[in-house]
Symmetry: C2
Protein backbone atom coordinates (compact mmCIF):
# COMPACT_ATOMS: atom_id res chain seq x y z
CA UNK A 1 0.00 0.00 0.00
CA UNK A 2 1.20 3.48 -0.78
CA UNK A 3 0.94 6.61 1.31
CA UNK A 4 -1.18 8.27 -1.32
CA UNK A 5 -3.99 6.01 -0.14
CA UNK A 6 -4.42 8.23 2.83
CA UNK A 7 -3.87 11.51 1.03
CA UNK A 8 -7.53 12.37 0.90
CA UNK A 9 -9.60 11.65 3.96
CA UNK A 10 -13.00 10.12 3.39
CA UNK A 11 -15.75 11.82 5.32
CA UNK A 12 -16.93 8.59 6.84
CA UNK A 13 -20.46 7.27 6.93
CA UNK A 14 -21.66 3.73 7.08
CA UNK A 15 -19.65 1.09 5.22
CA UNK A 16 -21.25 -0.24 2.09
CA UNK A 17 -21.59 1.98 -0.93
CA UNK A 18 -19.99 5.42 -0.93
CA UNK A 19 -19.21 8.22 -3.32
CA UNK A 20 -15.57 8.12 -4.34
CA UNK A 21 -14.15 11.54 -3.70
CA UNK A 22 -17.58 13.01 -3.17
CA UNK A 23 -18.29 13.66 -6.85
CA UNK A 24 -21.71 12.80 -8.20
CA UNK A 25 -20.50 11.93 -11.69
CA UNK A 26 -17.89 9.42 -10.59
CA UNK A 27 -18.60 5.71 -10.28
CA UNK A 28 -19.55 4.63 -6.79
CA UNK A 29 -17.25 2.52 -4.64
CA UNK A 30 -18.77 -0.60 -3.18
CA UNK A 31 -17.42 -3.31 -0.92
CA UNK A 32 -18.26 -7.02 -0.91
CA UNK A 33 -16.77 -10.44 -0.35
CA UNK A 34 -14.73 -11.79 -3.24
CA UNK A 35 -15.96 -14.49 -5.61
CA UNK A 36 -13.83 -16.88 -7.64
CA UNK A 37 -14.38 -14.67 -10.70
CA UNK A 38 -12.46 -11.89 -8.91
CA UNK A 39 -9.30 -13.92 -8.48
CA UNK A 40 -7.44 -12.74 -11.60
CA UNK A 41 -8.03 -9.10 -10.73
CA UNK A 42 -7.01 -9.67 -7.10
CA UNK A 43 -3.71 -11.33 -8.02
CA UNK A 44 -3.00 -8.55 -10.52
CA UNK A 45 -3.34 -6.06 -7.65
CA UNK A 46 -1.11 -8.12 -5.35
CA UNK A 47 1.59 -8.35 -8.03
CA UNK A 48 1.42 -4.66 -9.03
CA UNK A 49 3.45 -3.49 -6.08
CA UNK A 50 7.18 -3.00 -5.47
CA UNK A 51 7.27 -5.64 -2.74
CA UNK A 52 4.60 -7.87 -4.27
CA UNK A 53 6.29 -8.03 -7.67
CA UNK A 54 9.11 -10.14 -6.23
CA UNK A 55 6.85 -12.73 -4.65
CA UNK A 56 3.74 -12.97 -6.80
CA UNK A 57 3.19 -14.40 -10.26
CA UNK A 58 0.45 -12.83 -12.33
CA UNK A 59 0.07 -14.73 -15.59
CA UNK A 60 -2.65 -16.21 -17.78
CA UNK A 61 -3.71 -18.73 -16.79
CA UNK A 62 -3.14 -17.98 -13.13
CA UNK A 63 -0.90 -20.40 -11.21
CA UNK A 64 -3.10 -23.12 -9.74
CA UNK A 65 -1.75 -22.40 -6.24
CA UNK A 66 -3.78 -19.17 -6.14
CA UNK A 67 -7.03 -20.98 -6.99
CA UNK A 68 -6.32 -23.62 -4.36
CA UNK A 69 -5.64 -20.96 -1.72
CA UNK A 70 -8.75 -19.04 -2.70
CA UNK A 71 -10.92 -22.12 -2.25
CA UNK A 72 -9.43 -22.78 1.19
CA UNK A 73 -10.04 -19.18 2.26
CA UNK A 74 -13.61 -19.20 0.98
CA UNK A 75 -14.38 -22.45 2.80
CA UNK A 76 -13.11 -21.11 6.15
CA UNK A 77 -15.66 -19.09 8.13
CA UNK A 78 -12.79 -17.29 9.87
CA UNK A 79 -11.25 -15.93 6.69
CA UNK A 80 -12.82 -13.36 4.39
CA UNK A 81 -11.50 -11.72 1.23
CA UNK A 82 -12.98 -8.26 0.83
CA UNK A 83 -12.85 -6.33 -2.45
CA UNK A 84 -13.52 -2.69 -3.31
CA UNK A 85 -15.15 -2.02 -6.66
CA UNK A 86 -15.37 1.22 -8.59
CA UNK A 87 -18.31 0.63 -10.87
CA UNK A 88 -17.58 -2.81 -12.32
CA UNK A 89 -13.81 -2.56 -11.77
CA UNK A 90 -12.14 -4.29 -8.85
CA UNK A 91 -9.78 -1.67 -7.41
CA UNK A 92 -8.95 -2.83 -3.89
CA UNK A 93 -8.55 -5.94 -1.78
CA UNK A 94 -7.73 -7.10 1.71
CA UNK A 95 -7.98 -10.31 3.68
CA UNK A 96 -9.56 -10.52 7.12
CA UNK A 97 -8.79 -13.37 9.49
CA UNK A 98 -10.87 -13.71 12.66
CA UNK A 99 -8.84 -15.36 15.42
CA UNK A 100 -10.15 -16.66 18.74
CA UNK A 101 -7.68 -16.16 21.59
CA UNK A 102 -7.49 -16.99 25.27
CA UNK A 103 -5.84 -13.62 25.93
CA UNK A 104 -8.03 -10.67 26.91
CA UNK A 105 -10.31 -13.13 28.75
CA UNK A 106 -11.00 -15.09 25.61
CA UNK A 107 -11.45 -12.47 22.92
CA UNK A 108 -11.64 -12.46 19.12
CA UNK A 109 -9.24 -10.41 17.01
CA UNK A 110 -9.53 -9.40 13.38
CA UNK A 111 -6.31 -9.42 11.44
CA UNK A 112 -5.80 -7.66 8.12
CA UNK A 113 -3.35 -8.80 5.44
CA UNK A 114 -2.71 -8.26 1.75
CA UNK A 115 -4.14 -4.74 1.64
CA UNK A 116 -3.86 -3.25 -1.85
CA UNK A 117 -5.48 -0.46 -3.87
CA UNK A 118 -5.04 -0.10 -7.63
CA UNK A 119 -2.27 2.43 -8.35
CA UNK A 120 -4.53 4.05 -10.97
CA UNK A 121 -7.17 5.17 -8.47
CA UNK A 122 -5.08 6.14 -5.47
CA UNK A 123 -5.65 9.43 -3.69
CA UNK A 124 -9.44 9.13 -3.78
CA UNK A 125 -9.90 7.77 -0.27
CA UNK A 126 -10.67 4.26 -1.47
CA UNK A 127 -8.06 2.68 0.81
CA UNK A 128 -9.41 4.58 3.79
CA UNK A 129 -12.98 3.55 3.01
CA UNK A 130 -11.89 -0.07 2.54
CA UNK A 131 -10.20 -0.03 5.96
CA UNK A 132 -13.25 1.60 7.56
CA UNK A 133 -15.43 -1.12 6.04
CA UNK A 134 -13.12 -3.79 7.46
CA UNK A 135 -13.08 -2.18 10.91
CA UNK A 136 -16.90 -2.10 10.91
CA UNK A 137 -16.93 -5.76 9.84
CA UNK A 138 -14.60 -6.59 12.75
CA UNK A 139 -17.04 -4.94 15.18
CA UNK A 140 -19.89 -6.90 13.59
CA UNK A 141 -17.95 -10.11 14.23
CA UNK A 142 -17.51 -9.17 17.89
CA UNK A 143 -13.77 -8.51 17.77
CA UNK A 144 -12.15 -6.38 20.48
CA UNK A 145 -9.06 -5.63 18.43
CA UNK A 146 -8.04 -5.15 14.80
CA UNK A 147 -4.38 -5.80 14.02
CA UNK A 148 -2.04 -5.82 11.06
CA UNK A 149 1.66 -5.65 10.31
CA UNK A 150 3.09 -3.27 7.75
CA UNK A 151 6.55 -3.44 6.21
CA UNK A 152 8.95 -0.85 7.66
CA UNK A 153 9.99 -0.21 4.05
CA UNK A 154 6.61 1.56 3.68
CA UNK A 155 6.72 4.30 6.34
CA UNK A 156 3.84 6.15 4.63
CA UNK A 157 1.63 3.11 5.21
CA UNK A 158 2.32 3.32 8.95
CA UNK A 159 1.23 6.98 8.89
CA UNK A 160 -1.90 6.01 6.98
CA UNK A 161 -2.86 3.34 9.52
CA UNK A 162 -2.13 5.72 12.40
CA UNK A 163 -4.60 8.17 10.87
CA UNK A 164 -7.20 5.41 11.18
CA UNK A 165 -6.44 4.95 14.88
CA UNK A 166 -3.92 2.10 14.77
CA UNK A 167 -0.94 2.36 17.13
CA UNK A 168 2.47 0.88 16.26
CA UNK A 169 2.96 -0.58 19.72
CA UNK A 170 4.49 -3.86 18.54
CA UNK A 171 7.35 -5.19 16.50
CA UNK A 172 6.14 -7.32 13.59
CA UNK A 173 8.58 -10.24 13.36
CA UNK A 174 8.84 -12.73 10.50
CA UNK A 175 10.76 -15.95 10.07
CA UNK A 176 10.87 -17.35 6.54
CA UNK A 177 11.08 -21.14 6.53
Amino acid sequence: MKGSLGARAHAGGPPGVMEAGGGTSRPRVSFRHATRDDLDAIVRLLADDPLGAARESYSTPLPESYRAAFDVIRADANNELVVACLGVDLVGVLQMTFIPHLTYKGGWRAQLEGVRVDTRVRGRGIGRALLEWAIARARERGCHLVQLTTDKARPEAKTFYESLGFAATHEGMKLHL
Copy 2:
Protein backbone atom coordinates in the same frame (compact mmCIF):
# COMPACT_ATOMS: atom_id res chain seq x y z
CA MET B 1 7.79 -13.18 27.73
CA LYS B 2 10.95 -12.07 29.44
CA GLY B 3 14.44 -11.90 28.04
CA SER B 4 15.64 -14.45 30.53
CA LEU B 5 13.84 -17.00 28.39
CA GLY B 6 16.63 -16.78 25.91
CA ALA B 7 19.43 -16.59 28.45
CA ARG B 8 20.50 -20.16 27.92
CA ALA B 9 20.52 -21.51 24.41
CA HIS B 10 19.09 -24.97 23.90
CA ALA B 11 21.31 -27.22 21.86
CA GLY B 12 18.52 -28.07 19.46
CA GLY B 13 17.49 -31.49 18.32
CA PRO B 14 14.08 -32.73 17.30
CA PRO B 15 11.07 -31.21 19.01
CA GLY B 16 9.26 -33.44 21.45
CA VAL B 17 10.90 -34.32 24.71
CA MET B 18 14.14 -32.68 25.76
CA GLU B 19 16.37 -32.36 28.76
CA ALA B 20 15.84 -29.04 30.49
CA GLY B 21 19.24 -27.43 30.88
CA GLY B 22 21.00 -30.63 29.94
CA GLY B 23 20.92 -32.13 33.44
CA THR B 24 20.06 -35.77 33.83
CA SER B 25 18.42 -35.41 37.23
CA ARG B 26 15.99 -32.67 36.25
CA PRO B 27 12.48 -33.37 35.03
CA ARG B 28 12.17 -33.58 31.29
CA VAL B 29 10.40 -30.90 29.27
CA SER B 30 7.73 -32.14 26.92
CA PHE B 31 5.42 -30.41 24.47
CA ARG B 32 1.87 -31.30 23.51
CA HIS B 33 -1.46 -29.80 22.57
CA ALA B 34 -3.50 -28.46 25.47
CA THR B 35 -6.51 -30.21 26.91
CA ARG B 36 -9.39 -28.60 28.77
CA ASP B 37 -7.81 -29.74 32.05
CA ASP B 38 -4.87 -27.44 31.32
CA LEU B 39 -6.99 -24.30 31.12
CA ASP B 40 -6.58 -23.12 34.72
CA ALA B 41 -2.80 -23.43 34.53
CA ILE B 42 -2.70 -21.67 31.15
CA VAL B 43 -4.72 -18.68 32.36
CA ARG B 44 -2.55 -18.45 35.46
CA LEU B 45 0.48 -18.12 33.17
CA LEU B 46 -1.22 -15.51 30.98
CA ALA B 47 -2.15 -13.44 34.04
CA ASP B 48 1.26 -13.75 35.74
CA ASP B 49 2.87 -11.13 33.55
CA PRO B 50 3.24 -7.33 33.85
CA LEU B 51 1.20 -6.72 30.68
CA GLY B 52 -1.13 -9.68 31.13
CA ALA B 53 -2.08 -8.77 34.69
CA ALA B 54 -4.04 -5.76 33.44
CA ARG B 55 -6.12 -7.68 30.93
CA GLU B 56 -6.57 -11.19 32.33
CA SER B 57 -8.61 -12.48 35.23
CA TYR B 58 -7.34 -15.57 36.99
CA SER B 59 -9.81 -16.65 39.62
CA THR B 60 -11.52 -19.80 40.86
CA PRO B 61 -13.72 -20.70 39.16
CA LEU B 62 -12.29 -19.36 35.96
CA PRO B 63 -14.43 -16.80 34.08
CA GLU B 64 -16.63 -18.69 31.64
CA SER B 65 -15.32 -16.63 28.71
CA TYR B 66 -12.01 -18.52 28.90
CA ARG B 67 -13.73 -21.90 28.66
CA ALA B 68 -15.83 -20.73 25.73
CA ALA B 69 -12.74 -19.44 23.91
CA PHE B 70 -10.85 -22.65 24.64
CA ASP B 71 -13.63 -24.74 23.11
CA VAL B 72 -13.69 -22.58 19.98
CA ILE B 73 -9.91 -22.86 19.60
CA ARG B 74 -9.96 -26.62 20.10
CA ALA B 75 -12.72 -27.07 17.51
CA ASP B 76 -10.82 -25.10 14.86
CA ALA B 77 -8.29 -27.11 12.86
CA ASN B 78 -6.35 -23.91 12.15
CA ASN B 79 -5.77 -23.04 15.80
CA GLU B 80 -3.63 -25.02 18.23
CA LEU B 81 -2.74 -24.35 21.85
CA VAL B 82 0.67 -25.80 22.67
CA VAL B 83 1.89 -26.32 26.22
CA ALA B 84 5.31 -27.09 27.67
CA CYS B 85 5.40 -29.36 30.70
CA LEU B 86 8.21 -29.92 33.18
CA GLY B 87 7.35 -33.28 34.62
CA VAL B 88 3.66 -32.95 35.44
CA ASP B 89 3.77 -29.14 35.74
CA LEU B 90 2.55 -26.94 32.92
CA VAL B 91 5.27 -24.27 32.57
CA GLY B 92 4.76 -22.75 29.13
CA VAL B 93 2.12 -21.99 26.54
CA LEU B 94 1.63 -20.46 23.12
CA GLN B 95 -1.10 -20.36 20.52
CA MET B 96 -0.51 -21.19 16.86
CA THR B 97 -2.88 -20.00 14.14
CA PHE B 98 -2.44 -21.36 10.63
CA ILE B 99 -3.61 -18.85 8.04
CA PRO B 100 -4.14 -19.45 4.33
CA HIS B 101 -3.24 -16.43 2.22
CA LEU B 102 -3.31 -15.48 -1.45
CA THR B 103 0.02 -13.65 -1.04
CA TYR B 104 3.24 -15.54 -1.80
CA LYS B 105 1.36 -17.43 -4.55
CA GLY B 106 -1.15 -18.79 -2.09
CA GLY B 107 0.88 -19.75 0.96
CA TRP B 108 0.14 -20.74 4.55
CA ARG B 109 1.56 -18.80 7.49
CA ALA B 110 1.83 -19.82 11.11
CA GLN B 111 1.22 -17.08 13.62
CA LEU B 112 2.25 -17.23 17.27
CA GLU B 113 0.43 -15.44 20.07
CA GLY B 114 0.18 -15.58 23.86
CA VAL B 115 3.70 -16.93 24.40
CA ARG B 116 4.43 -17.35 28.11
CA VAL B 117 6.86 -19.29 30.31
CA ASP B 118 6.44 -19.65 34.06
CA THR B 119 8.59 -17.05 35.83
CA ARG B 120 9.80 -19.78 38.23
CA VAL B 121 11.56 -21.79 35.53
CA ARG B 122 12.99 -19.11 33.29
CA GLY B 123 16.60 -19.25 32.17
CA ARG B 124 16.53 -22.97 31.43
CA GLY B 125 15.94 -22.70 27.69
CA ILE B 126 12.31 -23.77 27.95
CA GLY B 127 11.05 -20.77 25.95
CA ARG B 128 13.58 -21.44 23.22
CA ALA B 129 12.64 -25.10 23.04
CA LEU B 130 8.94 -24.19 22.96
CA LEU B 131 9.56 -21.83 20.03
CA GLU B 132 11.67 -24.44 18.24
CA TRP B 133 8.85 -26.95 18.68
CA ALA B 134 6.37 -24.45 17.22
CA ILE B 135 8.64 -23.65 14.25
CA ALA B 136 8.96 -27.37 13.51
CA ARG B 137 5.17 -27.71 13.76
CA ALA B 138 4.79 -24.84 11.27
CA ARG B 139 7.04 -26.67 8.81
CA GLU B 140 5.01 -29.83 9.34
CA ARG B 141 1.86 -27.89 8.45
CA GLY B 142 3.47 -26.67 5.22
CA CYS B 143 3.87 -23.02 6.25
CA HIS B 144 6.38 -20.82 4.41
CA LEU B 145 6.50 -18.21 7.18
CA VAL B 146 6.19 -17.96 10.96
CA GLN B 147 5.16 -14.57 12.30
CA LEU B 148 4.40 -12.90 15.60
CA THR B 149 4.18 -9.45 17.10
CA THR B 150 5.90 -8.54 20.33
CA ASP B 151 5.19 -5.48 22.46
CA LYS B 152 7.87 -2.79 22.11
CA ALA B 153 7.70 -2.51 25.92
CA ARG B 154 9.59 -5.85 25.95
CA PRO B 155 12.80 -5.12 24.01
CA GLU B 156 14.43 -8.25 25.44
CA ALA B 157 11.73 -10.35 23.80
CA LYS B 158 12.64 -8.89 20.41
CA THR B 159 16.27 -9.90 21.01
CA PHE B 160 15.14 -13.37 22.01
CA TYR B 161 13.11 -13.84 18.83
CA GLU B 162 15.96 -12.46 16.71
CA SER B 163 18.21 -15.14 18.21
CA LEU B 164 15.76 -17.68 16.79
CA GLY B 165 15.98 -16.17 13.30
CA PHE B 166 13.01 -13.80 13.33
CA ALA B 167 13.54 -10.38 11.73
CA ALA B 168 11.70 -7.26 12.95
CA THR B 169 10.93 -6.09 9.41
CA HIS B 170 7.39 -4.91 10.17
CA GLU B 171 5.48 -2.57 12.42
CA GLY B 172 2.89 -4.42 14.49
CA MET B 173 -0.15 -2.15 14.61
CA LYS B 174 -3.18 -2.55 16.88
CA LEU B 175 -6.54 -0.82 16.99
CA HIS B 176 -8.63 -1.48 20.09
CA LEU B 177 -12.35 -1.36 19.35
